[in-house]
Symmetry: C2
Subunit: 230 residues, 2 copies
């Protein structure tokens, strides 16, 4: 009956039954499901394996199979494979990240509340403080929190997943750039790649999309100017 994933999912939806205790949608056992769909267990499992990788179902030995809300794990894997196999370059990932951040910060500026801006500022404070102590890992974490916070303001799963995926695939290059930047500047107190973040929150506080975009662009300009090879 169901040869493709889309068709299979339609069947799964109709076969799923809500579980009282957890409220999650539980699928019939593989053997049962295969019989009702007229699919051999092997073929069914091949498709379920894919659905599990995509994050749409969760399977646990002995417990059962449940419909699930996907997380960004799969897109991270996809990006890593695409990079490894040479289908998407690091430069293209970087370009996508910058364009996404700029697009998102513009939208975030439209809808940012003072409380949300304050939270973002606290992330920058933590970053500046960590940088001044030379704690690169702490600074990177705070930096991630700040940028993630921007995406959470917009709250679109497509962008959130992309952000997570891009962050994962660019993790190494970002970390190395930041270490390089830390080595370049002399006085850590005015570490410019940290300070430029305040320009973004200032624009958000004024709910000024154009200024936010400009500030984010400047963030990347500074970043590149400091870390790129001459």
């Amino acid at each position: 009956m169901a040869k493709d994933l889309a068709g299979l999912v339609e069947s799964l939806i109709s076969e799923a039954s809500s579980e009282e205790s957890t409220g999650r949608l539980r699928l019939p056992a593989e053997r049962t499901l295969g019989a009702s769909l007229d699919l051999s267990r092997g073929m069914l499992r091949e498709q379920l394996a894919t659905l599990e990788l995509l994050g749409f179902i969760d399977r646990t030995q002995g417990r059962g199979t449940y419909l699930e809300a996907p997380d960004s794990g799969f897109i991270q894997l996809y990006f890593r494979l695409a990079l490894r196999l040479g289908h998407i370059s690091a430069a293209q990932f970087t370009q996508a990240r910058e364009m996404l951040e700029i697009a998102v910060v513009e939208q975030a500026a439209v809808m940012a509340t003072p409380a949300e801006v304050a939270t973002l500022r606290s992330h920058i404070d933590r970053m500046v403080e960590a940088t001044s102590r030379g704690d690169v890992d702490k600074a990177i974490t705070a930096d991630f929190d700040f940028h993630r916070g921007l995406f959470e303001l917009v709250d679109n799963p497509i962008f959130n997943f992309l952000q997570d995926g891009l962050r994962d695939v660019l993790r190494d290059v970002v970390a190395e750039r930041r270490r390089k930047a830390l080595a370049v500047v002399e006085t850590t107190s005015d570490f410019i790649t940290d300070q430029v973040h305040y320009g973004i929150t200032d624009a958000l506080a004024k709910n000024d999309p154009d200024a936010a975009r400009a500030a984010m662009r400047r963030h990347f300009d500074v970043w590149r100017a400091i870390t790129d090879e001459p």
Copy 2:
């Protein structure tokens, strides 16, 4: 040895051999590959099925398995499933599409050549002509060609795939909106949702990113104003 997809891909890369005639990278036969990876054929096939769905390999009965450059087919499937399962809403897809188009047109304006702008203008010409004849399908095709052309200017596979996926999942809603728009306007000659496209190419011709973004935003504003329920 290789339990996860990432590990499997590493093995595949080392096991792959370049084929003389086509130049494509050919993988060993499943039975051979399974033996050398210490994987049963069933487990290997389960993973290969996923890699095939993602577009990284191509399998044909009797011919063999080859490494392949992925297309957007998989992201289209992912979006359709996410929509069907209620994890991403149509509104979120629409928002993502608008934000992406605006971000891309800005970048396209930076790098557009006169020849490329002329090509884009020809798509709009075709769209206006088709609309004037009431040929909705032709107009939609020309519209798609125009927007796809913008993404091809930027030429980032991440955005191209996203564009393809969003287009696919929004195909029905877009088509219906356009039909509604066609029913709303009286004189087809100044069909405003077509005409507004020229504002975009004008900005591209001047290599003016800000104007391009404003024109694209206006494009969506007009679109929504005409087709949204009162």
